[in-house]
Symmetry: C2
Subunit: 500 residues, 2 copies
C-alpha cells in the first residue's frame, strides 16, 4: 500500500516534551486517512518513527503540501533538508491492556511494566493514557513487587553508567522543603574525602529552585555524559543537570505528567529515585526525607512507609540504601531562589561567620550518614570527618575544583529590586508554611530570574515584634516584586502565637 | 497590580476542544510571569475569562507583541477587533481537592461533583486532570449515590429544556453495535402516534457512524435549540445533533477525554446518558443495551449491573426508565456507514421487500416497549401499534415531515468505488467481530465520507461457500478502498466453523 508523503518543516512551537504535528485540514493525507484534531499520528522519516498528536491547521501555518513539527517532534526526528515523511494511524500501543488492567485495580508483573515503559519512551502512550497510569498508581496502589518491577522496567529502557571498580556514593532528597540545598556541600565533602559521587540533579518544575538551578548560578551544569564522566574522573564528584544526561527517559516522561497532577505515589516516587540512582551506577545511596505538615511527606507514618518501600526496592536491586529523616516543618538556610540559595551554600563552604547554621548542620549530618555507610569505616565517625573537611577548607577547595572542571566558577548575582515584608503583629512563630514561601519566591521570578526569591532567617519558636521585617523579597523587575508582595499580603507564611 | 496586555490574533490551529494560547518565548508576559510550554494560563478579555494551555512560539507564528488563540479559545472568547487580553497564572481549581480524594479512593458527595463539573466546564481542569478523573471512576468506582450526585452535577451546570405539560418520550442505545440504527424509525413511529419525542443524538467518535451522521445523510441535523423546539412543536419529534444543542456541556467534556481512553465506567456512562435525557426534558426513557462479546456490554452480568444502576439513578431523578436488552453478537441491518445505514432505515420505513428484517424487528420491539411505558396504555399492545403505524406508511410520512421541518429530505448518496471480499473457505458462520467490521468501514472512509462503509447481510448460523462475497466495501477514493481491503485481508470479521 502506498502512502502519500509530505515535506516536513519546523513549526517553531514549543509544546514541551509532547510531540505535535501540524497538518492542513485540506491536505490529502488528512482527508484520505480521516485525521482530525488530536488524532494520534505515526510519523515516519527514513528509519525513524515517532507518534505525535495532530493539530489541524485552518490558517496559514502550513500549506497543503507540508507538515510542520513541534520542537519536540523536530528534535526527535531530526529531518534532513528536503526529506519526506509518511503519516499513518499508529497500531494501538501493546501496553494498553496493561494500562487498562492497572486502572481497573489489577496488579501488574514485570513484563507489563516493561511494555508500559517501552511505549512511554516511544511516545506510543498519549498524555491522557500516561495521566491515567499516574492516577491508577496514586497512594499505595503499587505494592512492593510492582514497585521493584516498575523500577527494573525504567532501568531496562534507559542506559546505565559503569564506573568500573569501587564505590559510587550518592545522596538524594525527596524534596518539598525550600532552601534545603545540602547537595553541593555534601558532594564537596564526600569528594574531598576521596570518594566518588557523580551527582545528577533536577531543575525546578513546581519549586522556586532545583539543585541544578542553584548550581547553575555557580557553574555550568548542562553537561553531556562524556563531560560528566571527565569531571568525575578528575575530581571524584560533579553536580550536573540530569535533564541533559537523561539517565532514565521513562522516568522523565512519567514525571512530566506527575508533576502538574501532583498525586503522591510511593511506588512511582521510589521507582523514579532508584531507577536514576542505579542507572547512574551508584552503589551506596542516602535518602533525605524531610517530614512536616507543608513538606512533601507530611507525617511520620508516611515517612516510615516510604522508607520501607525504598529499602525493599533497593534491596531487590542490590543497592545499599539508608534513609535520613529530617525536620520538614520549616525552610533551611536563609535564601529561597537559585542565587540566594547559592549564597548560603558558599557561606557554609567558606565557613563565613554569617553562614546559616541549620544548612551547615544538616549538610554535615547527611555527609556523615553517607560516610558511615562506607564498608570498613567505623560507624558514627562520619559527622566528625565531615566537620573536619569542611572546617579545613578542603571541601571549599574541592567544590571550586568541581566548578572549574564543569566549566568555571562564578559568584552569584544580586537582585536589582528588594522589599521587606514586616510583621503585622508581635508574637512567637508557631508555624511556617513552606508552600506559601515557595509561592512568593516563584512570583518574584524564581527560578527563571536566578537572583529572584526571598530571604528569611526566622525559625519556629523565634519571637518577632510588630514592624520587624519577616522576609525580604528579591526581584529582577518592579512588576515581579509587586506581584510577589501582593500575594504575600494575603497569604502570610508565618503563623504567630502570643509570646509567653 | 497592572498586567501587561497583548493583542490577540487567530492562530488558525484546531486543537479540538482544548483551548491553546500561543505566545512568543521572548514576549514580556512570558518572561515576567515565568510562563513556559504547557503552563496553564488564564486569559482575560473584557469580562470573559478562559483557561488555556500555553504553547511557546520560537518561530514566527506570532510576534512578541501578540498572542494567538487556537480555534477553541478563539470561539470561546470571541475577541473584538483590536481588543487586548491580559494573562496570568490561574488560581488552582477549587475541585482539585475533590479530584485528589477520588483518585485516592475516596467517595465524593454532591457538592464535590458539582465543583468538579463547574471547573470542567470552565476549563479550569486540565486534560490531564480530567483523564485522572476518568481513570479514578473506571469500572464500578462510583457507587449508586455518587452516580446520582454526578448526574445531578452535570444537570446543574447545563441548561434544561421545558416542554410544558405532558409526556416526553425518548430512547437511547448504549452503543457499540454497527448498523444498529433504530432511532430514526422509532422516532417516526412514536411521533406518528402523536407522542412527543425530541431526540438528540451524537456523531461518531470511534464508530463508523453515529445516529447524527446517518440522519445528516437524509436531512440537516445541526439545528440550534430554537429550531429544534420549532420542529418538535410542529411534528412531535426530531432527530438532531446534540453537539449543537449542548444540553450537557460537562458531559461533552468528560466524553472527549473518556472516548480515546476507552475505560468503561458504569457510573460515568449512566450520568452521561441520564443527564442528557433529563436536560432534554424527557419523562419516559427506554434504554437499549446490546449484549455480546464484541459489543460495549460484553456479558449478561455486566448488562444487569448497568441496568440496575440506570434504574437507581433514574428513580432518584424522578425519571421513568425501562431497559431493553438486545442481541449484541452481530451487526443490525445490511449497511455500516452513514449512507448505507440510512438506506436500511428508508427501506424499513418504506416497507421495501428487501428491507432488513432484523432492523425492522428491533425498531418495532423498541418502539413497542417505549409505547408500553406510557401511563394508561394496555401493556403488551405497543408492538402491535408500532407495526400498524409502520405498515400503514404513517411512520414514513411522519419521518419525511420531520426531515422537511429540519431543513429538507434528501436521498442518500452512493459510493464511487466498491469491492467484494469473498469467503476464503466454506462453512457456517460461528461468530462475527463487530469491532473488525467497524474498523473496515472506518478505513474505507466512514463517517467522514458519508457514502463509505460496508454492506453485509450474513448472520451467525448462515452457511457460506468458498468464493461467495462476505461483504462489499464502499469507498469514495481508490486509496481508501485499498486501505480497507488490506486490513480486511488480515483481520477477517467472520469466524467460520465446519457446516454440519
Amino acid at each position: 500500500m502506498t502512502h502519500t508523503r509530505m515535506r516536513v518543516v519546523r513549526a517553531g512551537i514549543d509544546t514541551y516534551q509532547q510531540p505535535v504535528v501540524y497538518m492542513h485540514r485540506e491536505c490529502e493525507i488528512c482527508r484520505s486517512e480521516g485525521f482530525a484534531a488530536m488524532t494520534r499520528v505515526e510519523v515516519q522519516l527514513g528509519q525513524r518513527t515517532l507518534i505525535a498528536t495532530l493539530n489541524v491547521v485552518v490558517g496559514d501555518l502550513v500549506t497543503v503540501d507540508e507538515a510542520a513539527l513541534s520542537e519536540a517532534a523536530w528534535s526527535a526526528l531530526a529531518p534532513q533538508p528536503g526529506e519526506l515523511a509518511s503519516f499513518r494511524h499508529p497500531e494501538p500501543a501493546a501496553s494498553v491492556g496493561a494500562l487498562r488492567s492497572k486502572v481497573f485495580g489489577g496488579r501488574l508483573d514485570e513484563s507489563q511494566y516493561l511494555a508500559l515503559m517501552q511505549d512511554a519512551v516511544a511516545s506510543r502512550l498519549s498524555d491522557l493514557e500516561l495521566a491515567a497510569f499516574v492516577a491508577a498508581s496514586a497512594g499505595e496502589r503499587l505494592d512492593q513487587s510492582e514497585t521493584t518491577a516498575l523500577t527494573r522496567a525504567m532501568l531496562t529502557v534507559g542506559q546505565r553508567l559503569d564506573w568500573g571498580e569501587g564505590l559510587v556514593l550518592d545522596k538524594h532528597c525527596v524534596g518539598g522543603l525550600p532552601g534545603n540545598r545540602t547537595t553541593p556541600i555534601v558532594v564537596a565533602i564526600i569528594a574531598a574525602l576521596g570518594y566518588r559521587i557523580p551527582k545528577t540533579s533536577s531543575r525546578a518544575i513546581t519549586s522556586p529552585a532545583g539543585t541544578a538551578d542553584t548550581m547553575e548560578v555557580l557553574a555550568p551544569v548542562a553537561l553531556d555524559l562524556p563531560d560528566m564522566r571527565r569531571v568525575v574522573e578528575r575530581e571524584g564528584g560533579c553536580i550536573v543537570w540530569g535533564g541533559n544526561v537523561r539517565l532514565s527517559p521513562a522516568d522523565d516522561i512519567v514525571i512530566r505528567i506527575q508533576r502538574p497532577l501532583d498525586f503522591d505515589s510511593d511506588g512511582q516516587l521510589v521507582a523514579s529515585v532508584l531507577s536514576k540512582k542505579v542507572a547512574a551506577g551508584s552503589t551506596h545511596v542516602l535518602i533525605d526525607i524531610p517530614v512536616g505538615p507543608t513538606a512533601k511527606v507530611r507525617s511520620d507514618a508516611a515517612g516510615t512507609r516510604l522508607a520501607t518501600r525504598l529499602g525493599g526496592t533497593a534491596s531487590a536491586l542490590g543497592l545499599q540504601l539508608d534513609v535520613y529523616r529530617s525536620d520538614g516543618r520549616q525552610p533551611v538556610g536563609v535564601g529561597i531562589g537559585p542565587a540566594l540559595e547559592a549564597l548560603d551554600v558558599l557561606k557554609v563552604l567558606r565557613n563565613n561567620a554569617d553562614a546559616p547554621a541549620d544548612l551547615r548542620e544538616r549538610s554535615v549530618a547527611l555527609a556523615g550518614a553517607l560516610l558511615d555507610m562506607v564498608p570498613g569505616t567505623t560507624p558514627g565517625t562520619g559527622v566528625a570527618r565531615a566537620n573536619e573537611v569542611l572546617d579545613s577548607g578542603r571541601a571549599l577547595a574541592k567544590f571550586l575544583a568541581i566548578c572549574e572542571a564543569q566549566g568555571g566558577f562564578r559568584e552569584p548575582p544580586h537582585a536589582e529590586f528588594t522589599a521587606d515584608v514586616t510583621a503585622g503583629a508581635s508574637g512567637r512563630i508557631a508555624a511556617i508554611d513552606n508552600r506559601r514561601l515557595a509561592r512568593i519566591a516563584k512570583l518574584a521570578g524564581a527560578p527563571g530570574s536566578p537572583a529572584a526569591g526571598l530571604a528569611t532567617a526566622w525559625r519556629i519558636g523565634d519571637v518577632v515584634q510588630r514592624g520587624q521585617p519577616l522576609f525580604t523579597v528579591h526581584a529582577q523587575s518592579r512588576g515581579e516584586l509587586a506581584y510577589a508582595l501582593e500575594y504575600a499580603a494575603t497569604a502570610v507564611p508565618f503563623a504567630l502565637e502570643e509570646a509567653a
